[in-house]
C-alpha cells in the first residue's frame, strides 16, 4: 500500500509541474494587455507606462514565471491586477460559495443516483427499469442551464418560493444561504445524477452476471442479499471514477449555472478575469483547480485500492 501511495504522489507532483508550465505559457500567448483594458480608449501612453510599472508587468517572462511558481509554493497566489487585492483572499471569498455548492450538488447526485441505479439493476426489464432509464435519458439530454431557467420561472417568478438568484452570504444564516444554493444545486445535480445512475446500473448488471454472484446465489443468498453483499462493492469502481470526475466538474464547471443564478462563485471569477485579462488571477485559479482535480483523482486512486485490494499490489 505504501509503495502505491508513493508512486501516486510522485505522479501527482509531476502533473502539477507540467500543468504550471502549460498554464503559464498558454496565458502568455493570449493576446490582450490588462493595462490597456483597465485604462480604456482615452488613456495616454505615460499613464499606461505608469500602471505597467506599478503592476510589475515589465519584468521578463521567465522572471514572472519563477516568481509566480515560488509564490505558489509558499502559498502566495499573487495580487490581482484589476481588484488589487491578494488572489488568495478573492479565491477564498468565492470558495465559500463554490465548495458548498459543489458538495451540495454532489450529495444530491449520490442521493438520487444510488437508488436510481440500483433499482433498475435489481428489476431489469421491468417497469421500474424502463421508467428510470427513460427518466435518466431525459436528465442527460436536458441542458442544465435550460432546466435552471425553467426552475427559476416556476419557483422564483410564479410561486415566489425562492429568489431568482444571488447569494445572501453565510452571515445571513445557514438556512437562508442553503436555500439560495438549492435551485442551483438541483440544476447541477440532475444531469450528473442521471449519468451516475446509468453507470451504476450497467456496472451492477455486469457484476450480477459474473460467476461469484452465481456462486453466492447457489450458497443460498437471496437476490437482494447477493446484490448488497457482493455486487454493489464490486460495481463501485466505475462509479467512483465517474464521481471523482463529477466533483471536479461541479467545482470548476458550474460557470453557466453561476451565471443563471448570478452566484459569485469560482467559475464566474475565472470568466471575469479572462475577459479583463487579469492574468494572475486566471493563472492562479486555474492552477488551483488543476490541483483540486489531480488531488481528487489521487483520492479516487486511493479509494480504488480500498475498494479493490488487488490494486494495492499491482502497481
Amino acid at each position: 500500500m505504501l509503495r502505491y501511495i508513493v508512486t501516486r504522489t510522485g505522479s501527482l507532483c509531476l502533473s502539477l509541474l507540467v500543468a504550471s508550465v502549460v498554464i503559464f505559457a498558454l496565458i502568455e500567448v493570449v493576446p490582450g494587455d490588462p493595462v490597456a483594458f483597465m485604462l480604456g480608449l482615452n488613456a495616454q501612453p505615460d499613464t499606461v507606462a505608469a500602471l505597467r510599472e506599478e503592476l510589475g508587468l515589465n519584468a521578463s517572462v521567465l522572471e514572472r514565471y519563477f516568481s509566480w511558481v515560488f509564490g505558489l509554493l509558499q502559498g502566495d497566489l499573487g495580487t490581482s491586477y484589476t481588484y488589487r487585492s491578494p488572489v488568495s483572499e478573492i479565491v477564498a471569498e468565492r470558495l465559500v460559495i463554490s465548495l458548498p455548492l459543489a458538495a451540495y450538488a454532489l450529495a444530491l447526485t449520490i442521493l438520487i443516483a444510488f437508488p436510481a441505479g440500483i433499482l433498475p439493476a435489481a428489476y431489469r426489464g421491468r417497469a421500474a427499469d424502463v421508467a428510470v432509464m427513460g427518466g435518466t435519458q431525459l436528465g442527460v439530454a436536458i441542458p442544465n442551464f435550460w432546466f435552471a431557467m425553467i426552475m427559476v420561472m416556476i419557483f422564483a417568478i410564479n410561486l415566489r418560493w425562492f429568489s431568482a438568484g444571488g447569494f445572501p452570504g453565510w452571515e445571513a444564516g445557514f438556512f437562508p444561504a442553503m436555500k439560495a444554493l438549492t435551485l442551483p444545486a438541483i440544476a447541477l445535480a440532475l444531469p450528473q445524477a442521471s449519468i451516475l445512475a446509468r453507470v451504476m446500473r450497467s456496472a451492477l448488471l455486469d457484476t450480477l452476471g459474473s460467476d461469484y454472484i452465481r456462486t453466492a446465489r447457489a450458497k443460498g443468498l437471496t437476490k437482494g442479499q447477493a446484490l448488497r453483499r457482493h455486487a454493489l462493492r464490486n460495481a463501485l469502481i466505475p462509479v467512483l471514477t465517474i464521481l471523482g470526475l463529477q466533483f471536479s466538474f461541479l467545482l470548476a464547471g458550474a460557470i453557466i449555472i453561476e451565471n443563471v443564478f448570478f452566484l459569485p462563485g469560482l467559475g464566474r471569477l475565472i470568466f471575469q478575469a479572462i475577459s479583463q485579462r487579469d492574468l494572475i488571477v486566471v493563472e492562479s485559479v486555474v492552477m488551483l483547480l488543476v490541483f483540486a482535480v489531480i488531488f481528487v483523482n489521487f483520492i479516487v486512486d486511493l479509494a480504488y485500492a480500498w475498494v479493490d485490494p488487488r490494486l494495492r499490489v499491482q502497481t
Binding site: G32, D33, A36, A50, A164, R268, Q276
Partner: protein, 491 residues
C-alpha cells in the same frame, strides 16, 4: 384557481405597501461589476455608475440633463484672459471618515491626477492645468496653460472627483468621499451596499440605503426583475423583453439618451478605405433604421455625424448618408471597385456590435462588399483594432461625452488625418464664447460627416426597467452614473 391567485396577489400588495412605508432601501441591478472602487484610476464605467455623485463629488457635476452645475465648488470666477479660475468651496463639508474637506484636498486630487505616476484613465482632462493653489481653506486658484472652454465640463467627469490624502491608500476597497451616500460593504462578485450619509452638506438622500447587485446574464436580469429581487435594472441588457415590462403595471420602462455615438468605424489609412468614395459608398449602403429595429429593438436615434442629438449644438446630417444601395454601387464603381471588395469586420462583445454587425454585413453584401465577421473580446479588440490598426471595419459605441475631438488625433484607431479639422479643434479648445463654440462644433460635425470618416449609425439608448413606485432614476445618461441622491419611493 383564479381566486387564490387574486387573493395572494392582493396579500402581497398589501404586505408590500405596509413594508415600503418603512423599508426605504432600493436594490439596483447592473450588468457589470466595478473592478475596484477608485474612479480616478480606471476606465471602467461601472465604477462611476456606482460611486459618481452618490459617494464621490467633484468641484462641478453633471445634472440629469447633462448640464454642468456647481458641486463642491459653490461658485467660481474666471479671469478675463480665461486662464485663471478661482473656485469658492462649500462650507461645512466633511468626508465620510470625518475629516474635513478643504482647499488642500482639491490641490491633492488634481496634482495626483496630473502627476507623473498618475494612473488616471482620462489624464488628458488635466493636461492644460499649469498649477493648482490653495489660497485659503475655501479658495482654490487653478491656472491653465491656455484658455479652455470645456474646463468646467472636464472637472465634472467622474475621473475628476475629489479624494482625500487621508483615505487614498485604501480607496480601491474603501472609497471615502463627500457624497450623500457612504460606502458600506462590497461582496465581490455579488453586490455593493451604500448607506445614507446623515452628515451630508446638501439635501439628504431620501433612501436609507441602496444595494447595487451585479447580474451579467440577460436571462438572469429578467428573472431578478420579474421576481422583484431588484427594484430597478439600470441598463437593462435584453431589449427584447422591454415591451413585456412596459405592459406590466408593476414596472416602468425608461428609455433615454446616452453619450454613446455608435459608429461603423473604418480604417482610414487601409486601402480601400483610404478612398473617400469607398467610405461614402459604405455609408450609403447601410440602412440605419433596419439596424436600430433589428439589433436594438427600435431603441436608438439615427445620427449622421459623431455628435449627440440631444446636444444643443447638434445638426442633423443623416441626409449625407441616406440609405441608397444603388448610389453605393455607383460610388464603388467610380472608386474602381465595380465588383466590390472583401474586408474584415471585427466586433467587440456588446450586443449592439454583435447583432448590428450581422445586419451590416448583410447590407454590405447587397452592394458587393464582403465583410468577414470576427467576434473579439474587448482585450483582443483593444490589441488588434485599437492599438494595432489591424482591421477593416469595426463597430463601437463611443460613450465619452463630447468626444468629437478624437477626430483631431491622427493616431486614433480610425486614423483620420485632416489638418483643417485638427486646426478647428485646436481653436475650439481655447474658445470661450458660447456662440462661437456652437458654430465651431457644427462645422466640425459637418466636416467629418462630409468626409465620411466613419459610417454613423445611431445614438445608443439607455434603457432601464424600474419598479413603478420608485421615482427619480435618471432616464438619460449624460455621464456613466446611477445618481440615487434624488431617488425616492412613492406610495
Amino acid at each position: 384557481m383564479m381566486r387564490p391567485v387574486t387573493f395572494a396577489t392582493g396579500m402581497s400588495i398589501a404586505l408590500a405597501t405596509a413594508f415600503s412605508a418603512q423599508a426605504r432601501d432600493a436594490t439596483v441591478g447592473m450588468q457589470l461589476e466595478p473592478p475596484h472602487l477608485d474612479p480616478t484610476s480606471a476606465a471602467a464605467g461601472a465604477i462611476d455608475q456606482v460611486l459618481y455623485s452618490n459617494v464621490f463629488e467633484g468641484l462641478t457635476r453633471f445634472s440629469s440633463d447633462g448640464s454642468v452645475v456647481p458641486g463642491l465648488a459653490e461658485s467660481w470666477e474666471v479671469s478675463d484672459d480665461g486662464v485663471i479660475y478661482t473656485f469658492t468651496l462649500r462650507e461645512g463639508v466633511t468626508f465620510h471618515d470625518g475629516t474635513s474637506f478643504d482647499a488642500s484636498d482639491v490641490v491633492f486630487t488634481l496634482d495626483r491626477a496630473r502627476g507623473p505616476d498618475s494612473t488616471n484613465a482620462q489624464k488628458g482632462l488635466f493636461a492644460n492645468i499649469a498649477g493648482v493653489q490653495a489660497v485659503n481653506d475655501r479658495t482654490v486658484v487653478i491656472t491653465l496653460n491656455e484658455p479652455q472652454g470645456a474646463f468646467l465640463f472636464n472637472l465634472a467627469w467622474g475621473d475628476a472627483v475629489i479624494v482625500a490624502p487621508e483615505s487614498i491608500e485604501d480607496i480601491k476597497s474603501n472609497p471615502i468621499g463627500t457624497g450623500a451616500f457612504r460606502f458600506a460593504d462590497w461582496k465581490q462578485g455579488d453586490s455593493i451596499t451604500l448607506v445614507r450619509n446623515d452628515d451630508y452638506w446638501g439635501t439628504p438622500a431620501a433612501l436609507d440605503g441602496a444595494t447595487f447587485k451585479f447580474i451579467s446574464a440577460p436571462t438572469a436580469a429578467f428573472a431578478a426583475m420579474m421576481a422583484e429581487d431588484v427594484d430597478a435594472f439600470y441598463g437593462y441588457p435584453a431589449p427584447e423583453n422591454l415591451a413585456q415590462f412596459d405592459a406590466d403595471p408593476r414596472f416602468t420602462v425608461l428609455a433615454g439618451n446616452t453619450e454613446g455615438e455608435t459608429i461603423l468605424a473604418m480604417n482610414n489609412k487601409l486601402p480601400p478605405f483610404d478612398n473617400k468614395l469607398v467610405r461614402q459608398a459604405v455609408s450609403h449602403a447601410i440602412d440605419r433604421s433596419a439596424i436600430i429595429d433589428g439589433a436594438m429593438f427600435g431603441y436608438g436615434t439615427p445620427i449622421g455625424s459623431h455628435f449627440a442629438p440631444h446636444n444643443p449644438a447638434y445638426v442633423d446630417l443623416t441626409g449625407n448618408s441616406a440609405y441608397d444601395p444603388e448610389k453605393a454601387k455607383a460610388l464603388l464603381a467610380e472608386a474602381g471597385f465595380p465588383d466590390g471588395f472583401s474586408t474584415t469586420l471585427k466586433l467587440p462583445p456588446p450586443s449592439y456590435a454583435r447583432r448590428g454587425g450581422e445586419i451590416i454585413a448583410a447590407q454590405l453584401r447587397a452592394v458587393g462588399i464582403e465583410a468577414e465577421i470576427s467576434n473579439l473580446e474587448w482585450a483582443q479588440w483593444l490589441e488588434q483594432a485599437f492599438k494595432g490598426y489591424d482591421y477593416g471595419m469595426t463597430i463601437v459605441s463611443h460613450t465619452e461625452p463630447m468626444d468629437i475631438g478624437i477626430y483631431a488625433r491622427p493616431g486614433y484607431y480610425f486614423q483620420y488625418d485632416n489638418l483643417d479639422f485638427q486646426k478647428l479643434m485646436a481653436e475650439f479648445e481655447v474658445e470661450n464664447d458660447p456662440d462661437m463654440r456652437t458654430e465651431m462644433l457644427q462645422k466640425a460635425q459637418t466636416i467629418i460627416s462630409e468626409d465620411y470618416v466613419n459610417a454613423y449609425l445611431f445614438q445608443l439608448a439607455q434603457t432601464s426597467v424600474v419598479n413603478a413606485k420608485l421615482e427619480g432614476i435618471w432616464a438619460d445618461a449624460p455621464t456613466q452614473a446611477v445618481d440615487l441622491t434624488g431617488v425616492r419611493w412613492v406610495d
